[in-house]
């Protein structure tokens, strides 16, 4: 018997004790289960951080976002940030820059969108409050994620990657509305519903992929 600071003499390649063997086999088996779960859950689980990826020049991304805003902007600006209500199924552009998320989004429940994320200056982090869903936003890269809001409500986008001294003020807004619930409200408040029907059936935005 010797300790870890003594040199083993002769041949040390000896059969392991039974307890040790059992442990190694168990640990190995467990590691293989985890290993198998990785690809399996990627195919079965359906919640993957991978999406459509493309390089994009920051200025080109800014132009795309501005066009997106111009096309689908609704109502007034809020805190200087335009509110945009894109049609179901469309490409949605969100731009991170020191220290703003533009625009504010108004999306519909149970509808799939392609959410594009990019930055025009440094790294930012997309963190959806209160769901705690997080993605890295990297300048020069367009990260397109297929998303379907499953809950109506008023949500926030927190920046969770350090982006300079204003990092902690960088909060954006996403509102998810439920068209079914809104239709019920239709009877009492006809004005509000108008905005919704206005944009509903447009398939545009798919083209620029």
């Amino acid at each position: 018997m010797h300790t870890g600071v003594e040199s083993p003499r002769g041949v040390w390649w000896k059969p392991a004790h039974k307890a040790e063997k059992v442990w190694v086999v168990l640990a190995f088996a467990w590691c293989m289960v985890l290993f198998a779960m990785m690809p399996l859950w990627h195919w079965k689980g359906g919640q993957n951080p991978s999406g459509i990826r493309a390089r994009v020049e920051p200025e080109a991304y800014r132009a795309r976002t501005e066009e997106f805003i111009a096309t689908y902007q609704v109502g007034e600006e809020e805190n200087g940030i335009p509110i945009v209500e894109p049609p179901p199924g469309s490409d949605v552009y969100l731009l991170g820059q020191m220290w703003l998320w533009t625009p504010s989004l108004r999306l519909q429940k149970d509808v799939e969108y392609t959410l594009h994320l990019s930055s025009v200056d440094v790294n930012h982090g997309f963190s959806l409050y209160p769901f705690n869903i997080n993605f890295q936003v990297v300048p020069g890269y367009d990260y397109g994620l297929r998303v379907t809001p499953t809950e109506a409500g008023d949500f926030r986008i927190v920046c969770n990657e350090f982006c300079g001294v204003g990092h902690h003020v960088m909060v954006g807004r996403v509102e998810v509305i439920d068209p079914a619930a809104a239709a019920e409200r239709d009877e009492s408040e006809p004005e509000e519903a108008q905005d919704l029907t206005l944009n509903a059936p447009d398939e545009g935005g798919e083209g620029d992929r």
Binding site: W12, W30, M37, P49, N123
Partner: protein
């Protein structure tokens, strides 16, 4: 340069004068870095604790940068250089092959570290320790990192040289001891790491002086080849220190050399892949890349840690039983030297690293769970359990042996030293678990204001989140107290402590 050996009265190892000197120098600088990192850590803690919110925003990010660099880079790596000089020349009874070069590299590393600290303290590098481009720091920040890395790389080469010298001069019989073997694994991983470091910091340095460009996503990928692999140096070095502490405190047995050494080889082979888990929610990489890199290879490194997690405690048990604690199932554990800070540090390091650090790490490394963990407080919660309660605590434990064996001083304030690992481990346990929970609310890491008082849109975390952050702060304060005691004990012992008895004169090898 003066040579000669002394014989250690406790271990009867032959210790080379230059090994003694280089271990001391590196350990002292490591402790100073720990002090800088500790004070800044406390300031960061008192700012994140929303009820106190001590620093303003500019200072918070600056001080957080200093904390990350001083702890993760300077404290840990200077200490590891000392470990290499111990595991090579000392454990093999051999000399330091190129002492002049060793000293030059020590000074080079120190110069690099001072340059980096200067840029950070003067507000020229508010970029956090990851320094993701295109956030830009002063060129001397990057240059300092490069000089530090060059010094480290050459010190690693000297360690390899000492293995060759020891073999040729037949200063040991048989194979190298397991602790040295673990240090070799750490050193090999260090080479891989530093190559990544050069690949990213050299172009970034040039970019900072206006030459060329660095792609932000490529930066993140190569940087984590450095950032993550360096955590594997820490793991391998920590496990080597576990075996060392086992041997020193209770005469732990190596139950099977084959198993333990194979596990170290697994670290070397599979660890670099794991850096992919920092990029799981990045736009630059596709799903195949993410799945392959995080599954297949990573789990072989996990297996290695699982093996050490068994063999280290088992070795302690066997060692204790050989020493006569054989009654029943647990006399070996009950009668273990719980008052020896080296031993308690070892036990807590194994437990917190394995259970808190390991479990959080493996789960956050999956593609899907990473979506809810990325850049939240879960991440620093995880790594304060691995590199702090694991590696740093193990290094603290071994210091209580380095002081008498290398510095030849008695450990001062023994009763404080005895409780130090308990305070640090207990505090860190609360701190890291609470921080991990805080992350589940979506509280971001590296963030000055979780009340978002100046933000465009209002946002309020639930009151439960505030409670968890308060618990985290209390845990952090206990840990900081443990850290302060460690620094008090080590500095006092080394500079003002009583010398050990016994002969410690160096005798030239040829004349003896």
């Amino acid at each position: 340069m003066k040579g000669g050996f002394r014989v250690c009265p406790t271990t009867s190892l032959r210790v080379h004068r230059q090994a003694d000197g280089l271990i001391k120098a590196n350990a002292v600088v490591a402790t100073v870095s720990l002090l800088v990192g500790g004070i800044t850590g406390l300031l960061v803690l008192l700012t994140r604790w929303q009820a106190v919110h001590l620093l303003d925003a500019v200072m918070f990010y600056r001080v957080l940068t200093i904390h990350g660099m001083s702890m993760l880079i300077f404290f840990i790596i200077f200490f590891e250089m000392a470990v290499l000089y111990f595991a090579g020349p000392v454990l093999l009874n051999s000399r330091v092959p190129a002492p002049k070069l060793g000293w030059s590299m020590f000074w080079l590393m120190l110069l690099g570290a001072v340059m980096v600290e200067w840029t950070m303290f003067t507000g020229r590098a508010d970029v956090l320790f990851t320094s993701y481009v295109p956030l830009k720091a002063h060129p001397l920040f990057y240059l300092g990192v490069i000089l530090f890395a060059v010094g480290t790389l050459i010190t690693v080469a000297i360690f390899f040289g000492s293995l060759v010298v020891a073999k040729r001069e037949k200063t040991y019989e048989g194979s190298v001891p397991l602790v040295t073997y673990g240090a070799i694994a750490a050193a090999i991983i260090a080479v891989i790491t530093l190559v990544h470091g050069a690949a990213i910091y050299i172009p970034t340095f040039f970019w900072s002086i206006g030459i060329g460009n660095v792609d932000p996503q490529v930066y993140r990928m190569v940087w984590w080849g450095l950032g993550h692999s360096s955590q594997q140096i820490n793991v391998a070095a920590m496990v080597a220190v576990w075996y060392l502490l086992g041997a020193l405190t209770v005469g732990s047995a190596v139950i099977n050399e084959k198993i333990s050494r194979t596990a170290f080889v697994l670290y070397i082979l599979f660890i670099s892949m794991a850096s992919a888990h920092h990029l799981l929610v990045d736009p630059g990489m596709g799903p195949t890349w993410k799945v392959v890199n995080t599954s297949y290879f990573m789990y072989m490194a996990v297996l290695a840690s699982m093996i050490h997690g068994f063999t280290v405690p088992a070795g302690i048990e066997v060692g204790q039983r050989v020493r006569g604690f054989t009654k029943g199932m647990f006399e070996w554990l009950r009668r273990a030297p719980w008052g020896d800070p080296g031993f308690s540090a070892l036990v807590f390091s194994v437990i917190i690293f394995g259970f808190v650090g390991g479990i959080t790490g493996v789960t956050f490394g999956t593609e899907q769970i990473n979506i809810i963990a990325h850049n939240t407080l879960r991440i620093p919660g995880h790594f304060h359990a691995t590199v702090v309660a694991g590696t740093a605590l193990a290094f603290m434990g071994v210091t209580y042996y380095v002081i008498p064996l290398i510095f030849r001083k008695k450990v001062a304030f023994w009763s404080l030293a005895k409780i130090q690992p308990y305070l640090f481990a207990f505090g860190m346990l609360i701190f890291s678990v609470a921080m991990t929970f805080a992350g589940t609310f979506g509280i971001p890491r590296r963030h000055w204001d979780m009340t978002f008082s100046d933000a465009l849109f209002d946002l309020q975390f639930s009151p439960a989140a505030n409670l968890v952050v308060t618990v985290m702060a209390l845990g952090g304060l206990i840990a900081a107290l443990g850290g302060a005691i460690y620094i008090l004990v080590t500095v006092w012992s080394v500079f003002l402590g009583q010398p050990m008895e016994g002969d410690a004169t160096y005798v030239d090898a040829r004349s003896s």
